[in-house]
Amino acid sequence: MIHFQDVVKRFGDTTVLDGLDFTVAPGERVTLIGPSGSGKTTILRLLMTLEDLTEGFIYVDGEPLTHELRDGKRVARRPRDVSKTRRRIGMVFQQFNLFPNMSVLENITEAPIHVLGKPKQEAREDALRILEQVGLRERANAHPMQLSGGQQQRVAIARALAMHPEILLLDEVTSALDPELVGDVLEVLREIARTTNITMLIVTHEMQFARDVSNRVLMFDSGRILEEAEPDKMFSHPEHERTRRFLQAIL
């Protein structure tokens, strides 16, 4: 379970998130939509600890992520503790970010071996199994530069899955891809949604995909949740005029 409590995020004078409260249940798939700058990507980045939390708390399964309340005071947790909680979370980025100095297989086994301490052989077998899932087993020894964007993104998904996260964050994972490569990546994600119970937070402009995989859609505007609903309701009968205009613009 993910719980955001009174979360405030400011970049200098700009308030991106303003007293945000929301909860995601285990196994739930939540899609975040909204105009750019509405704070949806910031939510994923805060969960991944890529940004500092200005105010408030984030809990993962009741465990505080970066800050906790101790004797009535809000204090930062030690990096080691943060890292422990963070290991439950995986993230796939818009730009894939594969390590260029490693083969496909090494990209996937690097953290399981050196962060989780998995035996090499086991990590390798696990990686090959996941590569099979994303349809790239035969490219295990390829270099990232030899792969298409869609293939690179599928490797990045495999890399995140190899850490066996309970929560997967997908930050506009198809936005940097050529249109004809988007389908394969979304197919892989649909399959993961169907066959696992990983909690997913998804920021995307692919509304059909959002409709297919998510249980709930949150519409963000100016750092607040404007409305939330099941995908069918959100996409066919949004309550707010602002949501209607946004959906019209992107559909």
Binding site: L50, Q95, H114, M145, R159
Partner: protein
């Protein structure tokens, strides 16, 4: 022509000695400079302001004062405070600190040029600082910093000539001595050729390292040997 050969033959033991001293200063200075550059370059990215400020002060101090004055300071001023350094130590220390300060900017710049997404991914995978540096960030920064380090190494080779200021028998000192017997043109001409050869050899070595680093990042075609190795691994 035979005159020149005779002079050369007569001077060759001293020339050889001088070249050796220059090479020792070069390698000693470069080794220290590299350590200083990496240390300061990494420290420049520290999350603590105090550390970053300290690095700034050190870097500006050594970059902003003359290398010759630094050498004189080490050689003539420190003894007044009871610290006597051997000529070799003085030379290596001055070269290492000075070029290390320049090098740290190259190291820092290369590290920060590794795309932000790479750093963020190491966080997303919960890698420790040492792990991400050693396995992800450094191998990428290394390819970026080699051209800059190459440049500095060649400047360092020429910088060793200042050892002659405190009477070390380096190449510059020896050729200066040779002037009386061999003539100005011959002695300085020979020195120039030797410096050039050292610089070319080192520059070539670093280019080889750079090409290797780039190939590892998939930015250059692999050599035949590497392709064969990769194929063998893929088959196995």
């Amino acid at each position: 022509m035979s005159d020149l050969l005779d002079t050369l033959a007569a001077a060759s033991p001293q020339l050889w000695e001088g070249t050796l001293v220059t090479l020792q200063l070069t390698f000693g200075g470069a080794a220290l400079a590299f350590l200083v550059a990496v240390g300061l370059g990494l420290a420049a990215l520290s999350p603590w302001v105090i550390v970053r400020t300290l690095v700034r002060v050190i870097v500006e101090l050594f970059r902003g004062t003359s290398l010759v004055v630094q050498v004189f300071f080490l050689f003539y001023v420190l003894p007044l405070w009871g610290v006597e350094l051997a000529p070799y130590t003085t030379g290596i220390l001055a070269l290492g600190l000075n070029y290390g300060a320049y090098g740290s900017e190259v190291v820092r710049g290369s590290l920060t040029s590794v795309p932000q997404g790479q750093w963020e991914t190491t966080t997303a995978l919960s890698m420790s600082w040492l792990h991400k540096m050693r396995r992800v960030i450094w191998p990428q920064a290394w390819a970026l910093m080699l051209p800059g380090l190459n440049n500095l190494l060649i400047m360092l080779v020429k910088g060793t000539a200042l050892a002659s200021f405190f009477l070390m028998n380096d190449l510059t000192f020896v050729s200066d001595q040779m002037r009386r017997t061999a003539g100005t043109f011959t002695s300085y001409g020979i020195a120039m050729v030797i410096y050039l050869l050292i610089a070319l050899a080192l520059s070539w070595a670093l280019r080889v390292l750079e090409a290797r680093a780039l190939r590892r990042l998939g930015l250059r075609e692999p050599t035949k040997g590497e392709t064969a190795k990769a194929t063998a691994e893929a088959v196995a």
